[in-house]
Amino acid sequence: MAHFTKKSKAKPEISTASLPDIIFMLLIFFMVTTVLREQEVQVRTTLPEAEALTKIEQKRYVSYVWMGPEKLPMNRFGDTKVQIDDAVIEDLTNIRSIMYRKLSEQPRLIVSLRVDEESEMGVVTDVQGELRKAGTLRISYSSRRDISNI
């Protein structure tokens, strides 16, 4: 009897051993439910190398335009195509309305041109012409840092 009373007097403590498990569970839950908006690039863009680079810190201003040879099955490449968001743009005059809409949503829009280094200037010029018509004048020629020169 004396033994029982002694035990009930012991200070009750909440076990904290399972707290990490709870936190891990929460973490995993949020990791699983978060969907990163991933865009599948359907054209090859090996970026050219350059030195005079500036970083675009504000990622939310950036809109990408991919240009390069279209990826075909069996590791082959087709003609040079232009891709914005998820779609390959066949008629380049559509770029105007797409960019105009993006600009009205984000007035400080920067268009990052991710152009394959083996492209020719023709398609770049055409896209730039459309960008000028849309009024999206801030552009950036996306390039890699030239590693050999450091």
Partner: protein
């Protein structure tokens, strides 16, 4: 009595698990810090606005314009002279910093314009190299100017400006790079 006391002592020996949460948080923070999301880098440009019929383009005298022409074969013409990409930087530097000394180059840095004209079949890679050289020339000028103001480099000067204030260097040496409409290649 003595047996009971001994038993109790053994039961109480437990590994403290309350610090497990801290360990998990430390791990989480470590991975948060070490993960880098790649930042997009590139050569920034501002395109000229769409020309309208009523206002003609501002006249630029021939001496203030440094013409760079790249043809479909990748040959560079610098002020109508055959040249190569490596010579562009030096030429832009003398052109911008001329201040009216040489009649072939610009009147003043604020009037100096660098014009790049390509062909429709010009390789994009070469165009980027050219643009890179032109911008590197301007970066060189800005770096020199920043050092005279007591900053180690132009980038330091610009990050110092973030809080506000005018970019005096950029105002004194404005980079005016114009992209000319290319010839229709054939």
């Amino acid at each position: 009595m003595s047996i009971l006391a001994k038993k109790k002592k053994r039961d109480g020996a437990e590994i403290p698990t309350s610090s497990m949460a801290d360990i998990a948080f430390l791990l989480l923070i470590f991975f948060l810090v070490t993960t880098t999301i790649d930042v997009d880098t590139g050569i920034g440009m501002t395109l000229p606005p769409e020309p309208d019929e009523t206002t003609p383009p501002p006249p630029v005298s021939d001496r203030n314009m440094l013409k760079i022409l790249i043809n479909a074969q990748g040959q560079v013409l610098l002020e109508d002279l055959p040249s190569n990409v490596g010579q562009i930087r030096g030429e832009v530097l003398t052109h911008v910093q001329n201040n009216g000394a040489d009649a072939r180059y610009s009147d003043s840095p604020s009037k100096a314009v660098v014009s790049i004209k390509t062909d429709r079949l010009t390789p994009y890679n070469l165009y980027i190299q050219t643009l890179d050289e032109v911008w590197m020339a301007y970066f060189e000028i800005w770096d020199t100017e920043a050092r005279s103001l007591g900053f180690p480099s132009y980038i330091e000067y610009r990050s110092d400006l973030e809080s506000g204030g005018e970019n005096v260097i950029r105002e004194k040496w404005p980079a005016q790079v114009s992209l000319a409409e290319p010839d229709p290649g054939n």
